[in-house]
């Protein structure tokens, strides 16, 4: 699967800073999980795999695996669009502790 991914090297000292403003596509060094005050939780029993949450997620953090929505909490910002769009109400927003 093609997707930007988290990498190990986060700090770029002088020698590692590229000569040009050009670098490997999809290179991530930080996650977005800290942005959330609430998190979407999928009730897999209620999820019908309709893909609407996947389709409307601005961050692309929802995948459908084995017919059920699965959320990448590293990059979910907790906007709650998935929960609102879900017809069978299979995604509930819960408080982050």
């Amino acid at each position: 699967m093609i997707k930007p991914t988290l990498r190990e090297q986060k700090i770029f000292p002088f020698a590692d800073v590229p000569e040009h403003t050009s670098f490997e596509a999809g290179y991530l060094v930080s996650v977005n999980s800290g942005w959330r005050s609430i998190r979407p939780v999928v009730n897999t029993a209620a999820c019908i795999g309709c893909m609407q949450c996947y389709l409307y997620c601005p961050d692309g953090v929802i995948a459908i695996q084995d017919g059920k929505a699965v959320i990448d909490y590293d990059f979910c910002k907790g906007c709650g669009i998935c929960s609102k769009i879900c017809k069978p109400s299979a995604i509930q927003m819960e408080s982050e502790r």
Partner: protein, 390 residues
């Protein structure tokens, strides 16, 4: 090779045809227009296989050239004066992105008042934009720089855009006998453009990104260092050029009778020929005159200037430029070099030729006389009377 009778603009277009850019994006402006007309004719008659893109502004001309360069192909644009200023944002963008685009700039006065004639205020106002800046003296050098500019800009150690400046009308529109190399010679001289600094489907890139305080400074330092790396590459290009075309160039500076000169006039562009002629005349009258023509304003030849002026008792800097509220920008640059090189001979600035005003034979004689007698002021405006010149 073929001898042709060409204007500076036409000679430059011939050089660009030989350099075979893949994408040309340009917008017409006097006195650059002939270049884009000629290149269009060459594309039309099939002698130049390039995409000629009719952009709707100079900003788009350079933005489009950057797109082409980011796609990994050789790009060309040309402009002048207001056009250069209109694309100014893109100048910094192209150098920061390290896109080795070549641009011809027809040096022309900047409004207001409106004026289409030649002075160098347009390009000199962009010295800090990160472009290599060369100033041609004649049509032959214009053609030769069109070819050499790509060699230097695209060199892997440099990867920096290159602006070749031709004095408006005096050079762009004046006809001279020009030796036009063959495409085979040009091909032997100029290698195909190869770079890692490009968008690539097999190896996708994110380009022209933001960089925060931690790394931004490092990118800028590397850009600065690359400009200095152009110096040995200019030498390399000129040696290879001499081998193939039999014409020699002297790097960042063109020194004339400076070895033993007591009075040295430093200038740039097409006025240098007249200055050399005057130097010869004055030498006959036992004034040891010399002329130093700056070929490259960036990278700036500070060390080379210090070396060349070391025998001088006094130095004059003649330029078609003024930085309002200060002095000529070329003079400022030179004074900085002189100070760094512990040159104690006095230096004087002569401003002339603004808006295309003529600089005469007598004006140049008088520059030498004034610096010899020590009657020059630090900044002198040629042709403006004493009463007016306060």
């Amino acid at each position: 090779m073929a001898e042709k009778f060409l204007s500076g603009d036409e000679a430059f277009a011939e050089g660009i045809r030989l350099a075979c850019p893949e994408v040309i994006s340009a917008y017409p402006i006097t006195p650059q227009t002939i270049v884009v007309e000629k290149l269009s004719e060459m594309v039309e008659d099939g002698s130049l296989d390039a995409e000629f893109i009719h952009v709707e502004s100079e900003h788009s001309a350079l933005s489009c050239a950057m797109g082409a360069s980011a796609a990994g192909v050789r790009a060309f644009t040309a402009t002048s004066s207001q056009g250069l200023l209109y694309m100014a944002e893109c100048l910094y963008y192209a150098s920061g992105g390290r896109f080795p685009i070549v641009m011809m700039n027809a040096n022309r006065s900047t409004a207001l008042p409106w004026n289409i004639y030649g002075d160098q205020r347009d390009s000199l106002s962009q010295l800090d934009s990160g472009w290599i800046q060369a100033y041609a003296e004649n049509a032959q050098e214009s053609l030769d720089l069109a070819l050499m500019s790509y060699y230097i800009a695209e060199h892997k150690n440099v990867s920096t855009p290159f602006m070749v400046n031709l004095d408006g009308f005096i050079l762009t529109h004046t006809y001279e006998q020009v030796d036009v190399p063959t495409p085979e010679q040009a091909k032997a001289f100029l290698p195909a453009y190869q770079t890692e600094n490009k968008l690539d489907l097999d190896n996708p890139k994110n380009m022209a990104f933001s960089a925060g305080p931690d790394t931004n400074y490092i990118f800028k330092y590397k850009e600065h260092a690359a400009m200095f790396r152009a110096i040995p590459v200019i030498k390399e290009a000129e040696e290879k050029f001499a081998e193939i075309f039999g014409r020699t160039y002297s790097g960042l500076l063109d020194a004339y009778r400076t070895e033993d000169a007591e009075y040295i006039l430093i200038t740039l562009g097409s006025i240098a020929g007249l200055c050399r002629e005057i130097a010869d005349t004055l030498r006959e009258k036992s004034l040891k005159a010399g002329v130093l023509r700056i070929r490259y304003m960036r990278p700036f030849p500070a060390e080379e200037i210090v070396k060349a002026v070391s025998p001088a008792k006094a130095i004059a800097v003649l330029e078609k430029d003024i930085s309002f509220g200060n002095e000529g920008t070329v003079f400022t640059n030179i004074c900085s070099a002189l100070q760094g090189g512990n040159i104690t001979a006095p230096a004087y600035n002569f401003i002339g030729g603004l808006g295309g005003r003529n600089i005469s034979h007598q004006d140049i004689i008088s520059i030498f006389e004034k610096i010899q007698s020590g009657t020059a002021k630090r900044v002198n405006f040629i042709g403006i009377g004493e009463g007016e010149n306060t």
